[in-house]
Symmetry: C3
Subunit: 363 residues, 3 copies
């Protein structure tokens, strides 16, 4: 598979120069690019890395002198990250899986498979499940009874989709993710320590819990269109309503999303984020890596939470949050800076104590 510089420039809506009929096989970084590659160096600071580059074509910053840098042709995108989307899409062959149903799979007789599906080896599809047109299940996938997978979805190996889970069109679910396990929801026959704390605001550890009763998860998980879910991530089913993930939301690896959580559309949820049960998150929210959100918290829309923060109180729309516990970012940054000045503050107070003591003594 090769692409010409002219084709690639058109795909990136970017200007090209030089021998635009040159065909390239793949993008590559400066240190490993070969003569068939197009080297990617979209910032001037990478110029000196290009000295010994063997590639004949390059993707460079606007205004770069490609000929002086030794290239036969070049493309000059305006926005590097946006160009990376077009560039990688142009060369992404996607997974290699033949259409049809692998003989070593187990598809329930009443499962409904769409047109042009690809079902890999060791895939299990339960009774009444529906697989959309063009959906691809790469191998070792479990689809529970009555689950629905949207058209053109791509399900990577080892993914577990529980019963009645609904996943929209063009979803990409990465390896070993689990959608639709039971929620983590227990109650004690007598009022327990945690339950009292929840109701009274105080924790009373004198209340001994001898046994937990299980609250079963009758709800399911409803996932919109164009959602991506990372490897090993877990989204639990709801108790009586569904756990909901809005369209266009992207979830990274090893993320935990508890029962009854509702996440709006077009959010970015980074790796190791944990969202506890019944939290509600608006639209266009970005949660940095390892963010924790407590149960029943409401986060508005257009919120950004810095990585590692713990959100333990409701957050209004438009907020930028940071810290443990999370505060508005400007407040958190101020406190952080003051905290680092504690040594001089303690010293100042010691000096003041001596001087006041002296002046009193001499008064």
């Amino acid at each position: 598979m090769t692409v010409t510089i002219a084709e690639l420039a058109a795909a990136l809506s970017a200007e090209a120069a030089g021998n635009v009929e040159l065909a390239v096989a793949r993008p590559a970084p400066p240190d490993s690019a070969g003569p068939d590659d197009i080297v990617v160096a979209m910032l001037p600071k990478y110029a000196r890395k290009l000295a010994d580059c063997r590639a004949r074509a390059a993707i460079l910053w606007p205004g770069a002198d490609y000929a002086a840098l030794g290239f036969e042709a070049a493309i000059f995108p305006e926005r590097p990250r946006l160009a990376m989307a077009g560039l990688t899409a142009a060369f992404d062959a996607g997974p290699d899986i033949p259409l049809g149903i692998h003989p070593l799979s187990d598809v329930a007789a009443d499962a409904v498979l769409g047109a042009a599906v690809a079902i890999g080896p060791f895939v299990s599809i339960g009774p009444g499940a529906r697989i959309g047109d063009g959906a691809r299940l790469l191998g070792h996938v479990s689809i529970g009874a009555g689950a629905e997978i949207g058209d053109e979805a791509l399900i990577h190996p080892g993914v577990r989709i529980g019963a009645r889970v609904r996943i929209g069109r063009r979803a990409i679910i990465h390896a070993n993710a689990v959608i639709g396990a039971d929620g983590f929801s227990f109650v004690t026959a007598e009022r327990g320590a945690v339950e009292q704390a929840r109701e009274s605001g105080r924790l009373d550890t004198e209340t001994r819990t001898d046994r937990y009763l299980r609250i079963a998860s009758l709800g399911s998980v409803a996932i919109g269109d164009d959602v991506e879910i990372g490897a090993g991530s877990c989204i639990d089913r709801g108790t009586i309503a569904d756990t909901v993930i809005g369209s266009g939301t992207k979830i990274d690896n090893l993320v935990q999303i508890g029962h009854n959580v509702v996440i709006g559309s077009t959010c970015l949820i980074c790796g190791h984020v944990g969202i506890a049960g019944s939290a509600e998150i608006g639209e266009r929210v970005v949660l940095g890596g390892k963010v924790g959100v407590s149960d029943h918290i409401r986060i508005g829309s257009d919120v950004v939470v810095a990585g590692g923060s713990l959100v333990g109180a409701n957050v209004p729309s438009g907020s930028v949050m940071m810290g443990v516990p999370a505060l508005r970012k400007d407040k958190a940054a101020e406190l952080l800076l003051l905290g680092r000045r504690l040594p001089s503050l303690f010293a100042d107070v010691e000096t003041l104590k001596k001087r006041v003591s002296n002046s009193s003594g001499s008064g």
Copy 2:
């Protein structure tokens, strides 16, 4: 499957009123309940959500005027969360898996299967393993050589049970959990930086580690009765003794439990908790989401640790802990509040410095 209001009220030990012979198909939240559902609204604040509700039956707060709210029948439980346990249990059909051994499974000739087991597709059961009466292995499960699964256990798809692991009765293990991987335990031939730090309390990074030797895991994992383990969670085997999880303990998703850890009975371990090697945790302990426990730490019984805390020192029984690093909750809360008042403290000290300087200068 339908249940009458009378049956449901009996199951919840709650009072009922109205047409108690009315049969309902499932519980539902106010905004999606249909005419066959029983709507769940156990707090007065949900009353206005019931205005357009199409359900004919409801589970309401004690004293609610069901008829005025438009229902034919209602149940009035005293404790909402406890009622949720009974309610969801009444409608939980459980996973749909036929008894017997799926033809696309691989069961060792000398494995011992109990009565009425259900072994799903693509399940692998190793030599000498024992599966208890009524146990269900839903699909894609691996059971290592010599492992023992208790009666009535429910093992969801993709779970990996290592060799010689023992799991008690009625365990529920959610999808893609891993019980019995090797512990993370290495040593350098020469004394390494971390080992010196462990012994001397100081870290010495001048000690270069060229190679790690592996400490193998000869122990196993012993899990009591009525334990639930969440999706994607990992419990490593012990070095020479077993890693132990006490009966009735519930573990959420993506939890990491290191080698040699001993956890007592009836604990709640929330999502993303990490417990490092050889830590010991008592009974009835609650660890909130994302709590970290350092290696070799001892936590007593009846302890509650708030979400996001890092426990780096032993914790006596009956403690409530919070923070990074975790302190007693009242102390942690006091420090947190004072920390937020740092701006005024810095301002006060600046004022004092000027006044003392002036008074000295004028003295």
Copy 3:
């Protein structure tokens, strides 16, 4: 399988005493050791636990009076942790998997399998993949197209290896790990809030993101020799270059390693660590449990980061870091101690305010 005391002492390069021809079946802790076991008690503080021990042989601290403690034979290693490596290796039988290819597996016709491989049940090996001599794939493993697995590698059940991933010799990959999922990399067609923050240092939430474009992952993952990767851990593939894990590096469970990350050799990465995209980590680095590393950060060599820390800025070689955000450990420890003295500081300032106010008032 039994080992004599003489053989074991030679394997540990340690002195032995007593009946060194005594054969032992396995090591055991004091409370559960039987007559065929060798009890492990390498520190004098364990002496009283040996009172009722039924074992006839022991591994004791140097100088211990084994006969007085009731043993027929004993070994006296100098370094307990190092002895554990030799001891557990001597008794580690490893997984029980027959050589050859299980009939319930799916191996592409053009995959290249080395000599003496063991391919377990429900293993899928894609087109063009290469499996090294003596490699063992225990069951339920996916190997993507063109992937390469080194000689003597041990791949536990449920591991997912993506297309073109390269794994070195003697690697140990634990159950349900995912190597080579796509990176988490998105861009908005218009400049989005996060991108602006990245470029300007400020977050502007007025920029509404309506849709994310995907940056595909054309790179792969390159893993050196003697690497161990824990259960459930995820290592994403690079964008155009590879994500790289150096030889001898050991990674614990549920670790997340983002796209384009480069980790040097002989590092220890503990449980729940998250390393965001394009971070670079040197050699012999130790990251404690739950450490987070922000994207594009550079950490030098011979660095130790305490558990739970968040690394948000570059770290020079030889540093010991701690805290949220991580600071040099001595600085972080000083600030932590001062933070705990805030109550007395606030009290001191109140006292000073009153005294200065009084002295001004009386002046």
